[in-house]
Homo-oligomer: 284 residues x 4
């Protein structure tokens, strides 16, 4: 039985004494810090930190931790998030026709690797319906056309609200989310099947093959209105050779996509990723 | 004492019997093949091969191997190159201010890793003069301005001709070679300090840092008139994190640049790279 | 519709003319070689080759290819195997309690990545029965004790014979196969959860953590009577840090195990692996 | 002009309030923390931390920082080291016949990558004397035989004392240091040319080739009396294939050795490595 913990992700303008003040808040309330990692982005003048402590023996009841911390955060002009390890985030996984990333996330969830609930699957194709049925996950088939996109995104937002979704994972969802959608739902992770910024946009494997690269990659990032421009969480690569045709690149790339997306989701669910501007600090 | 070998690099339209015909040419003349590697690029309809055999016991004298092979190559519409392992290619290394790739190549040459002669160093800066003196390599300082570029390239071509240079290695030479120059001297390898096609052009590390990538790379490629678009020989990458500022990326990248360039030059000098169109087959 | 091909894997004492003789055999019978790769192991005095050609237009009927080739192979003292791409090998996957490698292979099979049939699953535990049922694959639960091992291996051999199994894949099967078993069934691939030869034997992750390594690995190899000593087909690694405890190593290692095993099985099924002595030539 | 910093490396039994107490010490004295990283090794019950702060504006004069911190460290039973970024450690590089790691460290020093002084070179061979002369570094040739080893180690210890050496870097020094020596001089980093614990001891590349591994590695570690058993600082690997003979492994390995050793020395010189028991925490 693991002891529940609380985690604070904090960013604020850099100044003297931040580590002392933040850790003092936890210590003075009887918390035992099990992970503390800090980063100063000198260029941005920002201080970024992750603090995780055990809740047993902590004097403040959960509902008062936020308000109490706000009294410290406010004068520091700090932005912060508070998470409890035993509150499992609720995921919606979005797919198109390919199922490898979806299956991978489902398997990891079953294996106990993902501290989250996979609540529903949303797709613009019926392809993965059978899979959803097999694992008893709600499946919503919402085909997208240029004509119905706005209206379908409305329905998608209703579903996310209805399911109380915390995080959307685009597990090879081959549609672009509109700025309107992203203005209303911000927590979205996408896997792009290239080593961004190389081959942003469509058909990256085809273009990688045409360019004759010797290494291909995959990139997991938060989604922003600018296509493939969001903060990068994780990337990895694999070697290819002149013997690999496009289908080989796709096959090799699928393994990358699965693992890079899973790592990014895992890091996010452990509250180890702090996005700021167009970058991330990953307190791994 | 290693036995001298001959190496044929051949490309021609694919058809039945090519492996048989080419290997038969060597066998029927008493050659012992020690390396044979073939590749068919179905998309391009091209057959590409590398054949290396020991010269002792080979019935044809060296000067007749080419003509004899041409009799076979001509009906196959084959393009081919013939190399002898004991004929050491003559290199000119071009640099600007940074010396790490130059030093690395010089050390490898001294360590016997590079089957070639480093004949001269050409630079648009005087910075590396002392290094050249130290290792007793001719150094030519040819500053480049928009005004004198054409004329300096003329002098560079004269130097290459005078030194009978086989290969130019751009070891962090921060000038673009003109199409005119490349029309007259084609065998040029460049190291680009990014994972092409990401961050082609100037200041790749600065841009990689701004983009917040988690991996940086380096790319060695043959130079063509289109900047950073030539056939890629070798690439490699290294992980970076939010803690790495631009200077860390540059430091980590320098190790990549040295090794990727050295690998590419080594592969080229072993006649293992066959460039065709915008790609390479690397018979490693 | 892909054209069926034939593949020859040949090893014999090195001598002049082997490439010519072997390719001539294919050409003279009207075959179109689509892959030919050769290797000479000078130390072992061995010539190793893989030849793949398209069967359409090949003059010899399938049943005569072997006998015809034997006439060439015999004087060369060559050992050889002949495979046809449209004859799908029959796999038995052996597991214990962990299902990640099994699931991964099943998914790849469903995705069309593995040119083979997954015919049955054999386990010394009932754990994966439900999975087998879900995917409609025969499952045989054969618990092993020191007392019944010999007798259970007899039953296992009967099952392999009954199912006409070509390849056994030990997908985290935590039992050692006896020399007797291996004398009767030789084609077995195992995934070992370490970077062999480091941490051969039991509990590699625990031992890797105790040793404080900064990188962990996985190794796929053919099984021989000497535990973890068989010819290595593929290996890969992943970075770990002081923050990773044993459970993190296990989690990260599981991704390696899946991918390294899948790559090895894929290479084997494409007839790209030629084992000789304690090593392999991988014609990838 | 970079601002000088102070760095504390601290390890002590884990307890509540450590981050707060340590950071408070710095804050209350007016220090601006630019890097703080902490790790709790639950198994060992140890808290490990690295704290770096800018010295300008810090109220305590340098000579009082240690005594003042001791007052905090003593009740915590903490072991600690204090370093100032503008005090450059003094290195002795030990080599045998191979010069690639030595040259690499010298070049990095010249390029400003290594915040240290390379004070002398000690070797059991005269091979690298010319190199030392070229770079104007004292060179001491101390041949080792079983007969004179104890006595030569005495002279080596005198040299280290005379030069006031802080760190010995074994840059391919092929002799084992005696327990007596290590009892008197503890700060020694070695590069081992294998992926430890694989191929500990002699001739790792030969043995790697015999084993037929697909990946080779290098390991930088602190030296302890047990050969190749000391705490690992850094490791890296490179792919090899059946085409690579022992000389190829050696060539490829040399690049690994240079880079892995340089990374380890760089991390050590930045006070980012905290060794405890047989492991290291690397606050990179």
């Amino acid at each position: 039985m693991t002891i529940p913990t609380a985690t604070l992700l904090v960013s604020c303008p850099d100044q003297r004494g931040l580590v002392a003040k933040l850790s003092q808040f936890i210590y003075s309330n009887g918390g035992n810090i099990i992970h503390a990692d800090h980063h100063t982005d000198a260029q941005a003048g920002l201080f970024l930190t992750r603090l995780e402590w055990q809740l047993d023996g902590f004097h403040l009841p959960r509902e008062l931790i936020g308000p109490a911390f706000q009294a410290i955060a406010q004068p520091l002009q700090a932005q912060w998030q508070l998470h409890f390890s035993d509150v499992r985030p609720r995921l919606a996984i979005w797919v198109s026709k390919q199922d490898h990333c979806l299956l991978d996330l489902i398997w990891r969830h079953q294996a106990g690797e993902l501290p989250a609930e996979i609540v529903c699957i949303i797709s613009n194709h019926p392809t993965c319906q059978a899979l959803a049925t097999q694992f008893e996950i709600d499946y919503h088939y919402l085909p997208i056309t240029s004509a119905n996109k706005a209206e379908q995104e409305e329905r998608e937002l209703e579903l996310l609200a209805g399911y109380r979704i915390d995080l959307v994972v685009l597990a090879k969802y081959m549609q672009v989310l509109s700025p309107d959608f992203l203005a209303q739902f911000k927590s979205v992770i996408n896997i792009h099947h290239s080593f961004l910024p190389a081959f942003a946009g469509a058909n990256p494997y085809q273009r990688a093959h045409e360019r004759g690269v010797k290494i291909i990659g995959a990139t997991a990032h938060y989604v922003t209105p600018e296509l493939d421009q969001g903060p990068i969480i994780e990337q990895d690569v694999v070697r290819v050779s002149h013997r690999d045709d496009v289908s080989d690149l796709i096959r090799k790339g699928k393994d990358l996509e699965r693992i890079v997306l899973a790592r990014a989701v895992h890091l996010h669910l452990q509250q180890r990723v702090l996005a700021y501007g167009n970058r991330t600090a990953v307190f791994a």
